[in-house]
Symmetry: C2
Subunit: 359 residues, 2 copies
């Protein structure tokens, strides 16, 4: 802490070139969570090596940051307990970073800083923790955020499932658009930024519960840039949400309740991959309830809907964006799905948990 920024960056660089294994135990022990010498080694050799930056390097009780003058901030948190920890398209570390980045993006914020808190199970393979930390570092660099503070606790064998990660994030809101359910009006359009249900079904396939061979991959991705493109394209964006647990159905059911309006979806317009539909049929689950980790749902005024759609489609993460429904005065507080056969049914919030530990 007596060092110049240059010296700090130099130390980070040296740390990156240093192999992990030399100083680290092969497995996590309770001592790694005790706050003493072993904790120090773990922090130095894993977390600072992979996530290091001049702020985190200070290792103070809290990070000290310069707030952008007079701006609104977004602040959020997300725990990741996904099983399995590594799955096609991502892992728990990437999910932990992207989940919080995306929550900030849905408040219309530019994500800036994250904290990361680890609960490790005694006996966890250190190499696995290193892989997770590397993946968090890569995800943070991709999303343009820095991890500025962290915490590590270790619990006894059998008191966790390998590792759980809780991230929190702070972002800055640069624009004046007021995103809220209160801004939603009848006639507004419902837009989703791409195919739905990919993450949840990739996890179910990775668990082997389906005995299914597919190429399904999680859609985990940071969507702050996609959200920023949308917000730049039109000032008609009313409300944004990333449809994680509970899927598109649940976030829209919550919206309908909050704004006391109806949301009517057009089943034929919903972008769903064949593999997702297939896996959902086997499990008897509606893809509308399946978690996404790189998608957004937007409510946009009718006049801005085409510009919004064009902006989303111009972005690599929004190529399959679609207008999938609209807001109506009736039925208030409810979501209806109009089926391809001309019928309609009520889409309620998810009941029970068909897909535990999906994120």
């Amino acid at each position: 802490m007596s060092r110049t920024e240059e010296e700090v960056l130099d130390a980070i660089e040296k740390r990156r070139r240093r192999p992990h294994v030399k100083l680290m135990d092969k497995h996590i022990t309770l001592a790694h969570g005790a706050g003493g010498r072993s904790s120090h080694t773990l922090i130095e050799m894993v977390f600072l090596k992979e996530l290091g930056n001049p702020v985190l390097d200070g290792l103070g009780d809290a990070a000290v940051l310069q707030a952008p003058a007079g701006s609104r901030l977004a602040f959020t948190t997300d725990a990741s307990v996904v099983k399995p920890r590594f799955f096609p398209g991502g892992d728990i570390g990437e999910l932990a970073v992207n989940g919080t980045v995306n929550d900030l993006a849905m408040a219309g914020a530019r994500p800036l800083w994250l904290t990361a808190s680890f609960i490790l199970e005694e006996g966890l393979d250190t190499d696995e923790l290193i892989r997770v930390a590397q993946s968090m570092g890569a995800a943070a660099r991709r999303a343009g955020v820095t991890v500025v503070a962290g915490d590590t606790k270790v619990v006894e064998r059998g008191m966790a499932d390998g590792l759980y990660i809780t991230t929190a994030g702070v972002g800055v809101i640069d624009h004046d658009t007021n995103l809220s359910a209160a801004s939603v009006r009848p006639g507004d359009r419902v837009i989703v930024s791409g195919s739905i249900g990919d993450h949840g079904m990739a996890i179910m396939v990775a668990r082997g519960d389906l005995e299914l061979e597919t190429d399904l991959r999680s859609d985990t991705a940071p969507i702050h840039d996609l959200a920023a493109a949308l917000l730049s394209a039109t000032d008609e964006v009313r409300w944004l949400r990333d449809p994680t647990r509970g899927g598109v159905a649940t976030v829209l059911a919550e919206l309908a309740l909050a704004c006391e309006l109806g949301v009517v979806l057009d089943e034929a317009a919903l972008p769903i991959k064949d593999e997702v539909n297939g896996a959902c049929e086997i499990l008897g689950i509606d893809p509308l309830y399946v978690a996404n980790e790189g998608k957004l749902v937007a409510i946009v005024g009718a006049d801005g809907a085409n510009s919004a759609l064009a902006a989303l489609r111009a972005h690599p993460l929004g190529a399959d964006a679609a207008i999938v429904g609209e807001v109506r005065a009736d039925p208030p507080g409810m979501v209806l799905l109009e089926t391809a056969f001309g019928g309609s049914r009520v889409v309620d919030m998810l009941a029970g948990d068909p897909l535990p530990r999906i994120c």
Copy 2:
């Protein structure tokens, strides 16, 4: 979200008067973590009831907050896995709030906002969760912070130990004092704000490992106000830290390494309660390594030391504050304890973990 602030506050008030039990299951199920209807009920009936405020009530993906103009922010996180969850003097909920409040305070910040993320084990008694949430609410009110965002995950039976809580916090730094190891100079004094080791020993006694009858209570408390009093009393404060896991010894060992100076402690000056000394003797643990949850260690320039001590002692949480040592040029990077018998020994960082899951 279409409501006025008055309506929101009214809704919070109504919720407080509503009994929990009517709508809640007696035990936590996986469905409470699925993001659907059960999650909603849990959030409404427990978290919003106990922690509710106009920001949290919005239930957006992230809280939107007004940053104080041009100020520096502090940002930190802390996971709480303490066992047992309820102990003399506090519980896991109070610890989760105070831990993060205190980390912010040690950066010289005024704590403003917290997030709270829960990992619940399937089968957890809902009444117990309610008690924890109530305790968090009381601790937040005492510390003057609001919980502005949260997350809840549920893992299967046997994959956690009841509940783990991770809080993150943001505070604002109103003054210009630069607290860092780099500011520490030979001749500076080491001050502790009160008796050491109370929390760790209270937990050990509560576990029943000691078969000891004592009145020992955890010292868990929010010390932001105590830190603010100290910072107002003198501009000679160089460095602050709350000596949690690893105790006073470990934070000073870290300081000595960071500033490449020596720290010399006077054993006779250390404020330690008789019951703590007694319990430590039975366990063969040095109280210098035992966790505190309502204390601070300050390095203060010699000219400000008496004012600092007076300011701490004038505060209810600092009545037993004491000057316990000083910083010297030698031995660089090391902590020495001068014993009552005229000898001295090196105080290293904690090795191993004699007291797992202390916080």
